[in-house]
Assembly symmetry: C2
Amino acid sequence: MHQTFDAALGINLLHANQEGADHNRAHFDEWGITCLNIMSSPGAGKTVLLEQTLAALNHQFKIAVIEGDMTTELDAERLRYYNVPVIAINTGRSCHLDSKMVAGGIHRLAHEYNPSEFDLVLVENVGNLVCPAEFEVGEHAKVALLSVTEGEDKPLKYPVMFQEADCLLITKMDLAPHLDIDVNRIVANVRQMNPNCMIILISAKTGEGLETWFEWLRSQINQPSAISHQLPVVH
Amino acid sequence: MHQTFDAALGINLLHANQEGADHNRAHFDEWGITCLNIMSSPGAGKTVLLEQTLAALNHQFKIAVIEGDMTTELDAERLRYYNVPVIAINTGRSCHLDSKMVAGGIHRLAHEYNPSEFDLVLVENVGNLVCPAEFEVGEHAKVALLSVTEGEDKPLKYPVMFQEADCLLITKMDLAPHLDIDVNRIVANVRQMNPNCMIILISAKTGEGLETWFEWLRSQINQPSAISHQLPVVH
């Protein structure tokens, strides 16, 4: 549910959303939590990435997940297997999480736990390559996923997501040999939109790139403002 | 660009959009044109499907395309190769086509051509599995694509698109052997949302299912209201 393009109204909505996002981030900062907003098209691999991230880092850091879906708790249930708090937000007909929805999730976290004990909150957004990129939720960094199966041209056709990303994961690298695509072209198209984001090529199936992702993630925890620039493409 | 969930305002916007869609459809009916609204996540294969459809049916029917993208004319250029009118609509920050945008496209078509000569208008929507499903543009039928790479659970997690579809194409079937998915499960999940839509399993690479898609498409032309129900799953 959303409006057609209306600049005046849109700016007001985004302004109100931004105030809420700043408020959420102030809470995270007060509690020493790093918050990442994880976004992609449906099926690019957000939930699998979170599963593997929780499995690898759950013992090193105290992690909570805010899980956004239009409907169902299918993804939330998958992640609860890892014994972390997973706060499910059903957005109904809304195509993205906004800062008010995430504020509700934060308050539930603070009500049920001591939030100062947490190091990391991972927000999994609704699967949508367009709308979530415009609505900050209070995150310290934005992580976008693009599956190799989506094609080379997506960074050019959906520019906002790629311009906003601090870290871009090119997923399902194991499928690349079965596709008529050039991964270097995808990377070049991302760079055209965003010269500075971290780009990591990964495969949940083979494990390619996962250690680099964990390393980047560790670098964000407790120093969320220290995002480095001019980062290389790594496998 | 869109609002957060606001039922009252949302209904007004959808009502205004619906009036515009009915107006567009009246034009199509007056001219004897069948209009299909083609929707999916980014990269599920809409443009490849249109390329193959134009190549196969361009000599049998007079076809025009209305091509929606946030930015660029990359897809429009690909389709112009087939010597059909391709009207490109850049939606800017909007995540879907609405009936007003498509009305602009229709007026351009009617200005530059004799619209009564056309049999079929294919509208390629912005790549988004959420928002386009809610905004009718004047189509006679909705076609949704879901790539096998997107996973089994998508019909449950993004229900509106699957509830609205008259024809659902499960694409990239050639990749199924490389994935840990069960296509029958995808079909069952679609059926849970929509017992009656046509479901066709296709591969642009191997040609699987394409003849069935062309056959369904032919059945829509000049008899757009004759969508059959209780249709089988076909390859």
